[in-house]
Amino acid sequence: MLTIKNLHCQLEDEPETRILKGLDLTVEAGKVHAIMGPNGSGKSTLSYVLSGRDGYEVTDGSATLQGADLLEMEPEERAAAGLFLAFQYPVEIPGVGNMTFLREALNSQRKARGEEPVSAGDFLKLVREKAKTLDISPEMLKRAVNVGFSGGEKKRNEILQMAVLEPKLCILDETDSGLDVDAMKLVAEGVNALRSPDRGFLVITHYQRLLDHIQPDVVHIMAQGRIIQTGGPELALKVENEGYADLLKDLA
């Protein structure tokens, strides 16, 4: 589903800052892949490069989603192609209502795919239903995007967007950070509800905790802009118990 080969990137404004240095990664449909790795190893950068944020220059390598070249597309085209990034730091947008935003997003994607827009009534029903399972109140839905939301509420709002947009490939960047125990369960349930044979997940996290709830099929360790090790769920447990020292000792 998602195929990344030898991906290299540097900062546009500071070409000497190279962040991704030959990253290879494949996520198959129906699978959950987790990425762990020390702070600053480039995990968020990977998620931004895949979703098309400005400021990074890809100098080598490729990234495709279901065969389509992601790197050639505008961010909105990537979204319509099925890519979704749950941000590590969701953005507040004063003055733009949550519902307006979500509806605009859903219908833009549908339009790009040649589908009919969802009617106001159906949309409202859809969002209310999904919001309920994530414990997002109707009052929160009425507010501006992420404005006045607590850290945990912002993360739940990301998952709500994901549930409504039904992407093909979901990237979750530290969605667990800032969540209390109950919220973590809600979020995990939200993600698990979306698991399906034709959808892939890339879950970036620092903690085994989240992976207790969202069982990964594959775990990758990322360091210094590359995947340095790939294994099963046991790899995450090893990190949890031993830290990265052992895994990193060969890099130096």
Binding site: E74, E76, A79, G95, A105, A144
Partner: protein
């Protein structure tokens, strides 16, 4: 016989004024005050960048006879109200509700004692801190308009809609005496006025709401508005200006009664070749006055926005609460926004603040929206709508808010096309 004027600074305007008096015998009635006004205009001359409040706004030449083009339609077309339609500077009675308006309030028509008309003019003339050449030009050359008294306690059921049409560079003048406890809303739209002048007095506990749509302009328009607000009175004005060679809106607000409130807000949408200038002068001359100035500029291509906002707090105007914000989003690197905020305070127990920002659209927010599938243009429209909302929220009437939002959305769509 007119004394020959040697070397007028504005010979074309002098000729236009002489012709005007000859062609409008009725104007002879107020000819002396017109002459006085013209002489003040003439003594000042057309503003240049050397004049303190014209530094950012290039006027260049101004031909008295140059026809005015227009585009688009009347944003207030669907609003129910007392409509007064001025075509080439003269009211078109067949399309106007002047009779119904005259039945509801007191409208000066020369047939009855209307000495109250002078009250508002005197209020405005008392405002002498800065010369207002276009107000003087209007006083000299106005061909028509409205002089209305809203009697004490009368809350006019519908807004008064002033509609300016036609290609003549007309001058229209409006006097409004809103007596104690009265309420009225006045709307202006249309490209068929080169200058407009509103002189208003808002009585104790009275309220005057003013909305101006300058979305159909192509050429130039100079609008002056003087309002004096008495005790506990409320004046609120909102102007939406879009794409014209030059728009200059001057608002002079004098809060002379205790606890008077004055709100002046505006949205500016400017692209290729347009210059839009909002210049506001608020004077606090009494206790516990509250004033707000909220201006939002959206500038694309090489569009230019200018905001000059002054808050003057006179000695003794304690407990004044004055607020001013002017902001711009520059959608193109060629766009420009100039702000000149001024506070001049002679009282010691006041709270006044001002702020101004200018910058590109928020890239982080833009990326967030796009990452959810919203295309760039739509995302920009959403952010622009959100940006301008703070100014639109200053409009009390929700339907009129919606009209203004519609105009902003339309402008953004034109941009996408």
């Amino acid at each position: 016989m007119e004394a020959p004027v040697i070397e007028s600074k504005v010979p074309a305007w002098r000729a236009a004024f002489t012709r005007f008096l000859a062609e409008h015998p009725a104007a002879q009635f107020g000819a002396q005050s017109r002459r006085d006004a013209f002489e003040r205009f003439e003594a000042h001359g057309l503003p240049t960048r050397r004049h303190e409040y014209w530094r950012y706004t290039p006027l260049r030449a101004l031909d008295p006879d140059q026809a005015l083009a227009s585009k688009g339609g009347d944003p207030f077309a669907a609003v129910d109200g007392y409509r007064l339609v001025f075509v080439d500077g003269v009211m078109d009675a067949s399309r106007s509700d002047h009779l119904a308006l005259g039945a509801a309030i007191d409208v000066a028509d020369g047939s009855k004692d209307c000495s109250w008309v002078d009250i508002v003019a005197e209020d405005a003339r008392a405002h002498t801190a800065v010369e207002r050449p276009f107000a003087e030009l209007n006083r000299a050359l106005c061909s028509h308009g409205l002089a209305a008294r809203i009697p004490a306690g009368v809350k006019l059921d519908k807004p008064i809609l002033l509609r300016y049409e036609g290609a003549q560079p007309a001058h229209l003048r409006v006097g409004l005496l809103v007596e104690d406890g009265a309420e009225v809303t006045v709307l202006e739209s249309g490209a068929g006025a080169l200058t407009m002048l509103i002189e208003a007095r808002v009585g104790s506990g009275a309220s005057l709401h003013h909305l101006r749509a300058q979305t159909e302009l192509v050429d130039r328009q100079f609008a002056s508005l003087f309002a004096r607000v008495l005790e506990g009175g409320h004046f609120a004005s909102f102007t939406l200006a879009a794409d014209a060679a030059l728009i200059r809106n001057e608002t002079m607000l004098d809060l002379t009664g205790d606890e008077a409130r004055g709100h002046v807000a505006g949205g500016v949408l400017g692209r290729a070749g347009s210059v839009i200038d909002n210049t506001v002068f608020v004077t606090h001359a009494a206790l516990k006055g509250e004033s707000r100035q909220v201006f939002k500029n959206v500038l694309d291509e090489d569009g230019r926005g200018v905001f000059q906002g002054k808050i003057l707090v006179r000695k003794g105007a304690q407990k004044t609460d004055g607020y001013q914000i002017s902001q711009s989003i520059l959608l193109d690197e060629r766009a420009e926004f100039d702000a000149k905020p001024e506070l001049e305070i002679y009282a010691d127990d006041v709270a006044c603040s001002h702020g101004s920002t200018s910058g590109a659209i928020d890239e982080t927010a833009l990326f967030y929206l796009r990452s959810r599938g919203v295309d760039r243009r739509t995302a920009e429209s959403l952010l622009v709508a959100a940006f301008i909302e703070e100014a639109i929220a200053e409009i009390a009437d929700e339907d009129l808010q919606e009209v203004m939002r519609g105009e902003v959305a339309r402008w953004m769509t034109e941009r996408a096309g």
